[in-house]
Amino acid sequence: MNGRSASARIWLLHLAVIAALAAAGFLLPEYHRGVFSRVLVLAVFAMGYNLLLGYAGLLSLGHAMFFAAGLYGAGLPLYHLGWGAPAAFAAGVAAAGLLALATGALALRTVGVAFMIVTMMFAQVVYLTSLYFTTWTRGEEGLVLSPASRRIELGDTVLSLTDPATRYALALVLFSIVLLLSLRLVRSPFGRTLAGIRENEERMRMLGYDVFRAKLTAMAVSGLACGAAGAAYGLLFGYVGSGFASIQYSILPLLWVLVGGAATTLGPLIGAAFMFYVIDYASGLTTAWLVLVGAALIFTVLFFPKGILGTARERWLKWLP
């Protein structure tokens, strides 16, 4: 198979996934469409995380701060300053990008376990900050964004973000954009640079690469994607609270990516959907639902050690990006 047809097959696969998700928007029962609206946004969070973990080989335990930066960056101006949804979204993305640059510039001086701890500490600072300024954030209780403020005006048409169909469509648009951009990125020279850094950082330096700069760029792009997810989550589902800045939301993207398959473009979606449904199903069966979730994770690790898609790629579908 030559490069061009392999490339065509990869792009077709991704477009087919997007088309299937678009069709699902019409076919899925109301409840599952609601679940998928959330899963698509959370998958964007996971894709942002995967860029750093899967492709650059950097394990962060603080990505909740980028999701939260997007969430608050969008939610606060909308709630307090009466900004429109599009401007609030842009503010959220920008806040997360800036936070990623600032924390990256410091945290990337460390590697391995130290990097995990430093990112976790930064995230803890963001979490505590959101609790400290209760006057504006209302802490754990959070802010409920009024339905009236959650709308996008496009000329004469007004998109209400409270309408489930619109919500699904917008979540899918965001997901598709981030998916296709990340596919393009990982197949670009920069994607190869990140893979090189993941595999052998010292060799990369001696091939003329400014490793720190490449990692910082990856961190910024990852922060932007996670911030976009956070901003969209707040705007689409109307709630902005400290819970999203807690350590749990730093662990979840790690889990989604590992379950779905690190360094696969579609793994984050599969991981996020799988975990969402496992938790959903298990918590419907018993109050001890964490036991079932744990069992599901052990099962996945045993039979899919590289995540669902990662293992599928290793065994059957070697061409997967």
């Binding site: 020279p189 060799r203 001696m206 003329g208 690469y209 490793v211």
Partner: protein, 258 residues
């Protein structure tokens, strides 16, 4: 104009490609490289020899920037690069291949070579796929690995991994290629191949190699620098070095049985 006259009258001395001045590096109390003045002319094949622990790898490490000096300066084409980080020295034209094979084992052979090629292309502007492919093919052709582009680099035989490492260095199109014990662990047949390859490379780049195999050194080097205990013990043509009494005592003497 008068002020310029002395400059014009100064006889033209060719700037060496590499020059170190009183270059030192201490590890704790050990002076691995001790006030070394080293010059390397463009177009040479230079071998650095010396017993283990003589400071050879540290010296080339200081030249390519992997190791920071304790004192002294490094000049590249007359320009002070002492403070330049390693990656910037690589872009200036100094390529280094590792003593212990350092490749990207889980990436394909193509990607291993595409990394240095795209770095060179990035420095010139945008990376076009066709230019990338051509650069990779050229480097792989030179070392004879053209047929193996799709294979994961970790699956190559050891001798081929050494060749791949060399191809990665070549793909940068450096002015100076530093090879740290390139023939270590290779079979006689592979070494013969390697010698021919390095001769070929030397037509385009200056080659500085650390080598223990004296046959390789004698076959390749225009000049030899002998190091011992962090200092340069002797320097000269292969014949002069072979005849040098101090060198025989310090190094070659121990290998008289070869």
């Amino acid at each position: 104009m008068a002020a310029l006259t002395p400059l014009i009258e100064t006889p033209l001395i060719e700037t060496p490609l590499i020059e170190t001045r009183a270059l030192s590096r201490a590890f704790g109390g050990l002076k691995a490289v001790d006030a070394v003045d080293f010059r390397l002319e463009a177009g040479e094949i230079r071998a650095i020899i010396g017993p283990n622990g003589a400071g050879k790898t540290t010296l080339v490490g200081l030249i390519c920037g992997r190791i920071a000096p304790s004192s002294g300066t490094v000049l590249f084409q007359g320009r002070d690069i002492t403070r330049l980080p390693a990656h910037a020295r690589v872009m200036a034209g100094i390529a280094y291949t590792f003593q212990i094979t350092s490749i990207f084992p889980r990436l394909s052979v193509y990607d291993n070579v595409a990394l240095p090629v795209q770095r060179r292309l990035q420095a010139q502007g945008r990376v076009h796929q066709a230019a990338l492919d051509a650069g990779v093919a050229e480097a792989l052709d030179k070392v004879g690995l053209a047929g193996r582009a799709g294979v994961p680099a970790g699956d190559l035989a050891y001798g081929h991994q050494r060749l791949l490492e060399l191809a990665m260095g070549l793909a940068l199109k450096p002015r100076l290629l530093i090879l740290d014990e390139p023939t270590q662990g290779l079979s006689d047949g592979e070494i013969e191949n390697f010698v021919a390859l390095i001769r070929d490379i030397a037509r385009e780049a200056t080659v500085l190699l650390i080598e223990h195999n004296m046959q390789v050194v004698m076959a390749l080097a225009h000049r030899i620098t002998v190091m011992n205990a962090g200092r340069i013990l002797a320097e000269g043509t292969p014949d002069a070095i072979r005849a040098d009494k101090a060198v025989q005592d310090a190094y070659l003497g121990t290998k008289a049985d070869d």
